[in-house]
Structure formats: structure tokens, C-alpha cells
């Protein structure tokens, strides 16, 4: 297993812990390291205190953890708010100010507490100095990063501020870097190579743009707003448009309008917003209008826990539309994969003329990570997008693939009316049983005949035990497999990127010969497990479920333990 180093930085609101964490991660990235940063918010969404939680490692399996090797407290003011997410133990080291009482829980944890004269050191470095920059210097020292490089990053970030501000930052970093510390950590090795630094939400937006998205309708919602905010800026460069809608009902319908006009259209939301969109997603299915919706999952049900991660929206994504409404559901497997999966979704939606839902979650979406340049899936076989139609133009012509030629307003002489009422091939409303059956078959056929290709998911490992998972739970499942294999137990891991249409044949093949199958997911009601059983039954064996709600991260050790134990039959 690769070495990791988990670092938490905390302090009051305005103390700049996030800036400190982000600069450290950027410096680490430039030096060839790997790792990621999560922000822990207090119990609220709006501005205010947060903690920066970094995890540096040697590979890109990015798993959230509460177990911290190192905690840097700029002050102890807001610490109590984050105790849930910062677990300390005897192996942990705490760097903190020497003029404030260390919280009892920290003292009780057995962590090594190193009190530093932070106030004096910062004041000594520069009259306008700030603790967060001094901490950055300290941390750079511990990680073996070049202080000048960190200072350059910090001053670049402060480009808009007064020169004294920048000088102070550089001086504090320098002071921290040179501070005599009786602490030693062993930082992970830095593999080097080309890497990007971005969040899953940025990756998703990037993937959407690269796949051709030029119209975005937006209604803010945590934790999806930053996808939209990224797109607002980036769309200007590609000549696209973003409309801020009055609500999610408008957002999805604006996107439908743009898609009807021929634009690759996109919106992003989270559970409550997705719930508002389902009626119109059904319209997208029935009218065969392509559209991509990214759903960044948060704790549910209802308003739930907006700032924290969970995978509870699989059910609604799969089944939240009324009537028989076949559509695409995909899930991003990791932070970088948000780009690939979103780009594939846009391409598939266009190819099948149906809505594609992409699931990611607060963890993937809002974690800032150092990743290999993300893949994209933008090119489709030219034949995949039907544009010609034999003879008389029939918008909903019954074809072998189910896909019919899509005319766009402006196309000469192919005028038609798209309709959410059941219709004939021409698009004329019809209540006839035969038209209904034919169009239901056609719409289902589009998905049924889709060869899922190589991207439906990943399969690795061998043996009679298997973990099956989807989306962001993949990292925990893979880590569990690594543990099992290290302990001598062979095991397979199947991570699903395509959830609807479920690649049942590929999945059966991937699980052939398994004696036990454990479905891993981060929700309460085993939504993926139910989905798999519904389609596969007990093939090859009755699947077992490892479903745990958020916001606590999935625990690879618990997953491994469950698969290693023989099940109790009852």
C-alpha cells in the first residue's frame, strides 16, 4: 500500500486556512507530488469558517479520511465544529499556538502536541504577517518543499492586493520554512509527471465543454454551484451562453429549448433540484431531446446535509421519471473521471436523443486534487448521430436502432412539432395502442441496443470474491481490495460508470464464477444493490450489501472485513 500523509489545517473564519491548504497542495503538485484537499464546512453553507483537510499520497486513489497525521491549528476558536472530521490519535502530531489552551479532546487523543509561539513568530516575520502563511512555510518545511517556490505561488495568488500584503506573505512563509521544528514527518514519495490540479466539479464542467456543450442553464445549489460558476467563465471563451434561471424547472426547460435548437445543453444540480426536474426529464425522453444533467449528490433526504457527501440519489436518477421513461444514468468514478464521464454522457445523450444524468457527489465535486490529465470521450462514430432520413421526413420514424433523424429549426423542409404527448412517427398526437407500443419500444430500443463499449466500468482482480460498486465509492472498494489482496485474499473489483442501461451482460461476465458478491455504496437503503438485483436477480449468487450513509467516509477496512468473513446465512 502506498504511503499517505493526512494534514488538517484549522482556524477561525477569515484566518485563511483554505488559502494555506490550497497553496500547499499547489506547491506539492508542482514538486511532482500527489494528493487532494477537502474543505470541511461548519454546520452552514454560507461564508465563514472551514477547515482544510489534505491527504497526500503516492497514487491517485483518493479516499477521504478523518484520521489525521498532522494538525496545524492557527487558533482553536472553531475547532469544536470540526471534531467530527478531524480524528487524532497517538500517531498524530499537532502544531498549535502556545498562547491558547489546547482543547481537552486533543489532549486526550494522545497526539504529540507541539506548541509554537505563533503570534510572536508571525509578528517577527512581518508587521502585517498572517499565521496561515507562516503555517504554509512550516508545512513546506515538513514536506521538503522549496520556500521560494511557495512564496512565489502565494504572491501570485495575492496579485490583486497591496504590495505589503504580498511581502508579508513571503516573509511569513520564509520564517515558517526556517523555523526550527523538532518534528519529523515522512512525506510520501513524489512520482512526478504531468498533472492537473482541479476539483471534480471543474472537471465535469471541462468535460461538458470539451464534448461540445454550448448552452448552460443554471440555478445555484450546494454542492453543484461551482460547476455552473466554472462554466459561466469558461463558456465565454468557447462562445457559449449561460442563463441563470429562476428555478430548476426553468433551468431544465431552458436547456431543453436550447437542445431543441441544436445546442448541446447542460445543467447541474443536486438532489432537491433534480427532484424538480424529473417531470421535464420525462419530456426530454418522450420528445427525444438530448440533454445532460449533472447531479452532485449531497446528504439526503430533503434538504438533508447540503455540504456533505452521500450517494443517495441513485434511485431517483434511475426511476424518478413518471411512466416508462428510459434514459441514461452514469456515475463518475473519481475526481478526474468527472471529466470523462460527463463528456461521455453528453456524447451519449446526443447519440441517443435522450437525457443523460451524471452522478457525482460533494466529495468528488468539491475536492481539489492533483490528477493525471483527465481523459475525454467526445468523438462518436459519425453514423451514431442520425441526421438523414429516408424519403419523407418523420421525426419519430421507427428504426432498427430506435434512433431517428433529428431535424433542427432552420433545416429546410423538415418542420415538425416535438411532443410530450404520445405520438405517431410523424409526431402527431395519438392515443392509439399501436402507436404507444411502437414508440415505447423505439425509445427502449435506443438504450437496449446501445453497445456499452469499453467504458461501462472498470474490472480488475480475480478470484471468487467480488466487490461491485459505482461512482465515488469506487475508491473505497479499491482500497478494500488492496487490503484483502495484501492479506492474501484474491478479489475482484467492478466499478460501474454506466448504470442505465445497465450493462448486464458485461457485468455477468465480470462476475462469472464468483462465490460472493458484495455491493458497496454510500447510502442507507442499498440503492445500487437493489438495482443490480432487479436486473440480475441472484446471478451468479445473491449479492450482499455494504451500504453506509454519509457523511462519514466509507471505511475500506470494514468493507474488506465483511468480504473476508463468511456470511451468516439465515
Amino acid at each position: 500500500m502506498s504511503r499517505t500523509l493526512a494534514i488538517a489545517i484549522c482556524g477561525s473564519g477569515g484566518a485563511g486556512v483554505v488559502a494555506c491548504g490550497e497553496l500547499l497542495l499547489r506547491g506539492w503538485a508542482r514538486a511532482g507530488g500527489l494528493g487532494f484537499l477537502r474543505k470541511a464546512f461548519g454546520p452552514q453553507i454560507r461564508g465563514g469558517e472551514s477547515a482544510a483537510l489534505l491527504c497526500l499520497g503516492e497514487d491517485e486513489t483518493y479516499l477521504p479520511t478523518a484520521a489525521m497525521d498532522l494538525l496545524v491549528a492557527l487558533d482553536w476558536n472553531q475547532f469544536a465544529r470540526f471534531e467530527d472530521e478531524i480524528a487524532l490519535g497517538p500517531q498524530s502530531t499537532v502544531l498549535c499556538p502556545d498562547d491558547d489552551e489546547v482543547p481537552a479532546s486533543v489532549q486526550a487523543s494522545g497526539a504529540t502536541v507541539v506548541a509554537l509561539p505563533l503570534a510572536a513568530a508571525v509578528a517577527g516575520a512581518h508587521p502585517e504577517g498572517r499565521r496561515n502563511m507562516f503555517a504554509l512555510g512550516l508545512l513546506g518545511q515538513l514536506l521538503g518543499l522549496d520556500a521560494a517556490a511557495l512564496a512565489a505561488l502565494a504572491t501570485a495568488r495575492l496579485a490583486g492586493k497591496a504590495p505589503a500584503y504580498r511581502d508579508a506573505a513571503a516573509a511569513c512563509i520564509d520564517a515558517g520554512a526556517g523555523w526550527p521544528l523538532a518534528v519529523a514527518v515522512t512525506p510520501p514519495a513524489r512520482p512526478g509527471g504531468e498533472r492537473w490540479l482541479l476539483t471534480g466539479n471543474q472537471a465535469a464542467g471541462y468535460g461538458a465543454l470539451e464534448a461540445g456543450v454550448r448552452f448552460v442553464a443554471a440555478y445555484p445549489i450546494t454542492p453543484a454551484s461551482d460547476v455552473l460558476e466554472y462554466l459561466a467563465g469558461a463558456l465565454e471563451a468557447v462562445g457559449g451562453q449561460l442563463v441563470q434561471a429562476e428555478d430548476e424547472l426553468a433551468a431544465v426547460n431552458m436547456a431543453l429549448g436550447a437542445a431543441f435548437g441544436g445546442a448541446d445543453a447542460f445543467t447541474a444540480t443536486s438532489g432537491p433540484g433534480l427532484a424538480l426536474m424529473t417531470e421535464s426529464l420525462g419530456l426530454a425522453v418522450a420528445s427525444e431531446t438530448p440533454l445532460t444533467v449533472l447531479n452532485v449528490m449531497r446528504g439526503g433526504p430533503s434538504t438533508g446535509i447540503p455540504t456533505k457527501s452521500e450517494q443517495g440519489d441513485l434511485d431517483i436518477a434511475l426511476h424518478g421519471l413518471h411512466g416508462d421513461a428510459p434514459h441514461l444514468v452514469l456515475a463518475a468514478l473519481d475526481i478526474a473521471d468527472c471529466a470523462f464521464t460527463t463528456s461521455w454522457a453528453v456524447a451519449l445523450a446526443r447519440q441517443l436523443q435522450t437525457p443523460a444524468l451524471v452522478l457525482s457527489d460533494q466529495f468528488l465535486g468539491q475536492s481539489l486534487a492533483i490528477v493525471s490529465p483527465p481523459g475525454l470521450h467526445v468523438a462518436l462514430p459519425a453514423a451514431a448521430v442520425e441526421t438523414v432520413d429516408a424519403g419523407e421526413y418523420l421525426r419519430y420514424r421507427l428504426t432498427a436502432s430506435g434512433v431517428s433523424a433529428l431535424a433542427l429549426p432552420g433545416d429546410p423542409g423538415r418542420r415538425f412539432t416535438a411532443d410530450g404527448l404520445e405520438h405517431s412517427e410523424r409526431g402527431t398526437p395519438s392515443t392509439a395502442a399501436r402507436d404507444h407500443a411502437a414508440q415505447l419500444d423505439k425509445r427502449a430500443r435506443k438504450l437496449a441496443t446501445l453497445g456499452p463499449g469499453p467504458h461501462w466500468g472498470t474490472v480488475d482482480g480475480e478470484g471468487e470474491l467480488a466487490l461491485v460498486t459505482f461512482g465515488s465509492a469506487s475508491a473505497a472498494a479499491r482500497a478494500a481490495a488492496t487490503r484483502l489482496r495484501a492479506a492474501g485474499t484474491a478479489c475482484r473489483v467492478v466499478c460501474l460508470r454506466l448504470l442505465a442501461p445497465l450493462p448486464a451482460a458485461a457485468l455477468e461476465e465480470a462476475l462469472a464464477g464468483c462465490r460472493r458478491v458484495l455491493v458497496v455504496e454510500q447510502n442507507h437503503s442499498a440503492q445500487c444493490w437493489r438495482h443490480l438485483r432487479a436486473h440480475l436477480g441472484d446471478v451468479p449468487v445473491p449479492a450482499e450489501s455494504f451500504a453506509r450513509p454519509g457523511p462519514a467516509p466509507l471505511d475500506p477496512a470494514a468493507i474488506a472485513a465483511m468480504l473476508a468473513e463468511e456470511p451468516v446465512h439465515g
Binding site: G240, V243, A259
Partner: protein
């Protein structure tokens, strides 16, 4: 862009409307194809967008591109389409239930947003399609629906007043009983750059036969349209709602500004280099 010499009937699709004989919506259809012909608009570049209701069935009866969406959301679809395709003439339409009840939020926000579309509200003060329930414009004491057997009991909306307060820059009122004026107002609405709101009194012969009396009440306004919002506001809250014509028009630049030209190589990846 215009096709050569199309007559109004060339803009009809030929599909037989499902409307009851005597329904006011026929007049809107006829007025619309007349207006399209008068302006010589290219049928391939006209897009009609609607929600659900008897009125919302109209797009299929016009030989243009059309989008028959879900109940109340036509205006949102139309705005998305117009933003993505500024080359099209985008017309949103629907009933009073569709536009002022379930679609009320999109209505007020469309007024405010001022995207270049035309919105035709075919107002018969009733939900025709679902067999005659009260809508937001139904008189307080209209007791013909089993759902509100003593009448809705609440004051009807004044659509023009609402549109104005929400920011609409162009407001007209037509009447299904005056098809020539209707055609002219439709043409004017289509020519207006920005959001134009055409409120049409369009009677439902089946559920509100009493609306035949409108004939006697409706008047044609001869004055120039009001051009100040505050004056128009006063007018719309004081009037009886039966004066037809172009009521209010104030010049205002539509939104959005033209899309920025695409940068040749947007170098999106640059933003992510550490």
C-alpha cells in the same frame, strides 16, 4: 430569408385542430398565420413553443418548427431556444392556466428577462382542457366548476398589470372576436425586439358560453400606447381589462447581448495546470 409569396394558409400544417367548434383559439391560429404571411417569415425559421392546454395544441397546426412541452413551462423552453438560436423567430403560447397558474413564475421572470420572444396568452378564464375549472383569471363568482362550486372567491389576476410590474416592455391585448386586429397585433409583437406580451381574450365556448357577451364589452383602444411604466401601471390597475390594442411599449434592449465570439483555441486546460 423570406420564402416567396406564401399565403396565410401556407403556414397551416393541415392537421385538423381538436378544438370545439366556436372556440376562440381558432381566431388566434388564423391571426397568427396571417401575421406570419404578412411578415413573410421563413417557415423553417419560425419556432412555436407551448405548454399543455387546448390553446397549447396550436403549434402542431402551424407549418413551422414546434415544441409542445409540459404544462406551464413553455416560456422557459422558448427562452432557452431563443438564447441558443437568435436567428429564429420564437413564439411562446398557451392558456391562462398554463401561463398564469402553473407557469406564473416563468411568466414574471420572462417579463423581467426580456429575451427576444413573443408570448401569446390565450386567455379564456378557464381550464378548458381539463373540463372547465377556474383559472387565475376566472371571475370571483363564476360557479360553474364543481371544484369551486361557489366560485373561486378570490380576485382574478390582471395579466397586463402583472406583466408590467414584472418588467415587460411591450404589452398588447387582442380578442378572438376581432381577428383582423389580432393579426396586426401579432405582426407587431413579432416585429418588436425583446419580450412582447400579447394577451388575447379567447373565448371557451364549451365551458364559458357566457363569454359570448364579451363582444359587447370589448373596445378597441385608439390612443398611442403608453410609454411610461408608472402611467401604464395606473392604467392597468384602474381599467376593466377589455380595451384592446397595443397598450404599452417602452424601448428596452433585449437580453442577452450577442454571444461572445468563440476564442479560436480556448485553451481550457490551462486553468488546471498547477
Amino acid at each position: 430569408m423570406a420564402e416567396a409569396a406564401l399565403r396565410p394558409k401556407d403556414y397551416k400544417s393541415g392537421l385538423k385542430p381538436i378544438w370545439c367548434p366556436g372556440c376562440g383559439h381558432y381566431a388566434v391560429l388564423n391571426g397568427l398565420v396571417k401575421a406570419l404571411a404578412a411578415l413573410g417569415l421563413d417557415r423553417d425559421r419560425v419556432a412555436l413553443v407551448s405548454g399543455i392546454g387546448c390553446s397549447s395544441r396550436l403549434p402542431a397546426y402551424v407549418d413551422s418548427y414546434g415544441f409542445h412541452g409540459v404544462h406551464g413551462r413553455g416560456l422557459a423552453v422558448a427562452q432557452g431556444l431563443a438564447v441558443a438560436r437568435p436567428d429564429l423567430a420564437v413564439i411562446a403560447l398557451g392558456g391562462d392556466g398554463d401561463g398564469f397558474s402553473i407557469g406564473g413564475n416563468h411568466f414574471i421572470h420572462a417579463c423581467r428577462r426580456n429575451v427576444d420572444i413573443t408570448y401569446i396568452a390565450m386567455d379564456n378564464e378557464v381550464y378548458g382542457m381539463t373540463k372547465g375549472q377556474a383559472s387565475p383569471t376566472t371571475p370571483m363568482d363564476w360557479d360553474h366548476s364543481k371544484l369551486t362550486p361557489h366560485g373561486p372567491g378570490i380576485r382574478p389576476f390582471k395579466p397586463a398589470a402583472l406583466a408590467l410590474a414584472a418588467g415587460a416592455p411591450w404589452i398588447a391585448r387582442g380578442y378572438s372576436g376581432n381577428p383582423n386586429q389580432l393579426a396586426k397585433l401579432l405582426a407587431a409583437a413579432l416585429e418588436h425586439r425583446g419580450f412582447s406580451f400579447l394577451h388575447v381574450l379567447s373565448q371557451c365556448i364549451t365551458y364559458c358560453p357566457e363569454q359570448t357577451d364579451w363582444k359587447a364589452i370589448v373596445s378597441e383602444r385608439e390612443d398611442e400606447p403608453v410609454t411610461r411604466a408608472d402611467a401604464a401601471a395606473q392604467l392597468f390597475l384602474a381599467e376593466d381589462g377589455f380595451a384592446t390594442g397595443l397598450l404599452y411599449a417602452e424601448p428596452r434592449t433585449p437580453w442577452p447581448p450577442a454571444a461572445p465570439a468563440a476564442v479560436v483555441d480556448p485553451r481550457l486546460a490551462e486553468a488546471f495546470r498547477p
